[in-house]
Symmetry: C3
Subunit: 202 residues, 3 copies
Amino acid sequence: MNAVGLVAFALVGAAKAIREEFDLFGIGVVGLSMAFAGGATRDVLVGRIPLVLRSPSEVALALVGVGVAIGLSAVLASPDDHPVTLVSDAIGLAAFATTGAIVATEAGVSAFGVVAIATINAVGGGAFADVLLDRAPFILFDDFYATCALLGGVTYWGATTAGTAAGTAVLVSAGVTVGTRLVAVARGWQLPTAQWLHRRGR
Amino acid sequence: MNAVGLVAFALVGAAKAIREEFDLFGIGVVGLSMAFAGGATRDVLVGRIPLVLRSPSEVALALVGVGVAIGLSAVLASPDDHPVTLVSDAIGLAAFATTGAIVATEAGVSAFGVVAIATINAVGGGAFADVLLDRAPFILFDDFYATCALLGGVTYWGATTAGTAAGTAVLVSAGVTVGTRLVAVARGWQLPTAQWLHRRGR
Amino acid sequence: MNAVGLVAFALVGAAKAIREEFDLFGIGVVGLSMAFAGGATRDVLVGRIPLVLRSPSEVALALVGVGVAIGLSAVLASPDDHPVTLVSDAIGLAAFATTGAIVATEAGVSAFGVVAIATINAVGGGAFADVLLDRAPFILFDDFYATCALLGGVTYWGATTAGTAAGTAVLVSAGVTVGTRLVAVARGWQLPTAQWLHRRGR
């Protein structure tokens, strides 16, 4: 699951950079940032040297995603909107959120810390990539995306706190993230804004 | 003081996100970032796991600020410009600058390090929130705001270096920050730009 | 070399902030960020307290660069495009890339980690300054700049892996960075975009 996520995340980031006509260095940086900035932030927050700086195989997978994005950009306008990409991205979201929840739990942080690190691990790379592209991170105003990772983090925390075996907690947490994400894509879910809430309240 | 600051900072950040029509997740992230990103950066710089990931009560206070911002946004266009908010924000600025100076001093950094970490602790959250909102941080070109935190940091360093008791240094440092900030708001102080300096020099 | 780089980087960052009419605090923050954010990120990634918070002499050098930028802005529209600045900046790029490669090698990271940290050390400050100025980092789409630091990091890694003495590896790595950068400026080198590659492929 982690491998699928690395390829998908790097592909989505690189495709965004290609549309902005960044050069090859920029395409590589945005693709790798999308794949690794969330996990690197997680590791820095819990006081570890980021895994990406120690694990060569992870980098190779992300570079595959960047290469695929460059190749596909010749034939597809938006390879990051393709159904295969959307499903792979949902799998990556679940893998990254669950990994974040595991690392945070091992580091002994609070319940908020587990959920925050799970969410940052899953969506921090995309938010960082958007900042590099000089945009507000899309996760803050659009789509039902980061909320799926947050729900996965809450599930993991709830399951482990309730004494569930670690393997089961991972499966349930990843399932909640992938499931809510795929339903959200299919049904076009959006979170409300404050303006919408106030209109409804009248 | 710290509690007042957490509520005020989260309220100001959330109010900015509401004006940009971010969704509820985005409003929460910008509000919590405004309250915690400065302190988390401070902790990462001195090699500690951020306090916000370990202390549930701090998160609860910031969520109160986010909730107040959402509620007030139905009746007030800019709850972040209300006099109560401005005074609470000045108190938070002082509390955060002083906390940063204390943590930096304990970590054994240089005089520059103490002043830099005090300033980052106080205004880093607001700068990070502005980046999430896709703006240049307002502290870099507008208002007399970050300078108050910087002066508080210099005061704390000066007082402790001169052998002042820790409790007194905290009071004096916080007093300098709140005092300069409230005078700056009342009088509309601005720092000069280079262009202004050159015009004056002619 | 490091001293030349600190002055040049701070000057370039401050000159950009002056053009945006930031106030004196903003000019100082962008100048110091350009000089130090890359090295601070390097130190945080390998788990050290940033050197800039412990070494007063480095801060003094960067403040000289900020002061020169403010002074020159009265007589020169773009002191950051002056040939003296371009050469000093190339020297700084080489010094910072090589320092990053040394620190990363000591921290025991992978080959990718050495190259990534060398590049972040050299160009992270400029990228961070561009984000503060609310732009996409210029290194991602313009010029042949970050690639020189990346080549310097690859050279250092290759030389030390091949058993070259540390002093020689430093010289060769710095030489590759400065050399490629000066040739790139002289010849106007650019990295291709994906769009350019696809047009060529037809």
